[in-house]
Each structure stands twice: as C-alpha cells, then as structure tokens.
Amino acid sequence: MIAEALFFSGILFAIGVIGVLTRRNAIIVFMCVELMLNAVNLSFVAFSRMHGVAGQTFVVFVMTVAAAEAAVGLAIIIAVFRHRQTVNLDRLDLLKG
C-alpha cells in the first residue's frame, strides 16, 4: 500500500501545480498550495510506515506551518483587497516594474 500512497501523493501534487498555474484568483491559488502541502503530508505518512514514526512528527510541523501560512497569507489577501479592490493575480503587478 505504500507504493499506492506515493502514487496518489504524486498525482495530488501535480493537480495542485496545475491549479496554481491555471487560476487567477489569489485565494484559489492559495488553496492549491494547501493541496500540495497535503500531498507531501501523504508521502510523509507513507514513509513513516516504513521508516518509523519521525515522519508523522514532520507532518505535525508541516500542518503547523500551513496554519501559520494560512493566517498570514489570508491577512495579506485581505490587505491587498482593501487596497486594490481585487484578488485577481494578473492585476497585482506592482512589483513588475
């Protein structure tokens, strides 16, 4: 079952990448990043089935970082929306020069 879990993990990660590349809504892009983190968590858990419980500890840390990232990132999105009245990533080109 470990090989199958790694298979699903790779597929989910690729779907997350496709989502990041195809969407313009900042919140959906952010959710796609969360999906990619989840895919990585799945392979951590699968490897922890082989190599001991340290993989599950890593998953706990990844979830903590994901929660912090969600809080800060959504605060940034709210600030940007208040500033520009949009979350369309193609219109947030202030750093493009």
């Binding site: 597929i11 989840n38 968590n41 089935r49 599950q56 979830m63």
Partner: protein
C-alpha cells in the same frame, strides 16, 4: 493484504484525486473550497489506513475544520462567491500549457517514486497505542523544533493582526487616491 483493506484504500485515494480535480476546475471559490474539504477528508481516511491515527484526526480538526473555515470566511468576507465576477481561469492556451506541465511533473514524480526509492516492507509491529510513539518522538528528539513552533505561531498571530488592521490600509488608500495610481504613472513613462 486483505481485499477489504485494498478496496477501501483505492476507494479513498480515488475520491481524493477526483475531488481534487473537481476542486481545480470549479469556477466558484465556495464550491472549490468544499471540494477541497472532501479531498482532505479522504486524505484523513488514508492516514488512518496507514496507521497514522493521530495525524488523521488532526487532519480533520486542523485542515478540514480550521484552515478551510478560515478560507471560506475570507471568500465570503470579500464577497467573492459569484463566479461570474472574476474570469479567473486562464485562457485555453494557458490551460493546455499548465496541463502539459502538470502531466510532465506527475510523470517525473511517479517515475522517481517507483524506481528510485526502495519500498521496504512495512513495519509489521503496529503499536496498540496510536499516539504514544508520536508523542515520544515529538517531545524527545524534536523538542526544540516543537518549542520553536510556538514562536512561529506567535509571529503568525501578530503578523496577521498587523496586516489585517484597517488603519494603515486607509492611509495607503488615501495616498493612492491623491497621489500616483499605477496607470497614470505608466502613461507618463510611455509619454516620456
């Protein structure tokens, strides 16, 4: 491997992949978020089937419970629920390019995962107590990282409050209203 176990493992894996595909193709942000919640529930089931019971529980509590609620909260706070307002899916050419990149990445990942990483037989001894081994590892070998995590969360809380505070943004908005919006500046540069 019992057939019952294999069947449900593939079932939850397929549910996760199918709802992830539905998630990236929905136009409405609310529908997308709800499909992502289903993906996370299916992943929690996979964690439990891989003997990571504690991770399965906190997957439901933290990801599906807390993080996705925050996402939905922001979607509704910014009133982005109407899919017609934002043409947020890229053009056909962009989608094809992204799909090609995604398929190439998946092929690479699967090749690496199949060929390069030795798949050992799983540990036959499954501990009866699901949480104790995780706790032992977390609070002995990784204790320093665990403590640093609390500082990370504190920084995240302070950062989120500072960023989302309305006062500064209002000043910025007044600066933009009276000062140099991006379009006019670009026009000046083009004129020069």
């Amino acid at each position: 491997m019992p057939l019952f176990y294999s069947f449900h493992f593939y079932l939850f894996g397929l549910i996760a992949v199918a709802s992830a595909i539905a998630f990236v193709t929905r136009r409405s942000p609310v529908a997308a978020a709800l499909w992502l919640v289903i993906t996370m529930f299916a992943l929690a089931a996979l964690y439990v089937m891989l003997d990571a019971h504690f991770i399965g529980v906190i997957q439901v509590l933290v990801y599906a419970g807390a993080i996705m609620v925050v996402f939905l909260f922001v979607v509704m706070l910014l009133n982005l629920g109407q899919p017609t307002e934002l043409a947020d899916v890229r053009s056909r050419r962009g989608r094809l390019a992204a799909g090609a990149i995604g398929v190439a990445l998946a092929a690479q990942l699967l090749t690496v995962l199949r060929g390069r990483i030795p798949v050992l037989p799983p540990d036959p001894v499954v501990p009866a107590n699901a949480i104790a081994p995780v706790a032992e590892n977390l609070f002995t070998d990784n204790l320093l990282a665990f403590e640093i995590t609390s500082i990370l969360l504190l920084v995240a809380i302070v950062g989120a409050v500072v960023l989302a505070k309305p006062g500064r943004a209002r000043e910025d908005a007044s600066v933009v209203a009276g000062g140099v919006p991006g379009e006019s500046r670009r026009g000046r540069e083009a004129g020069a």
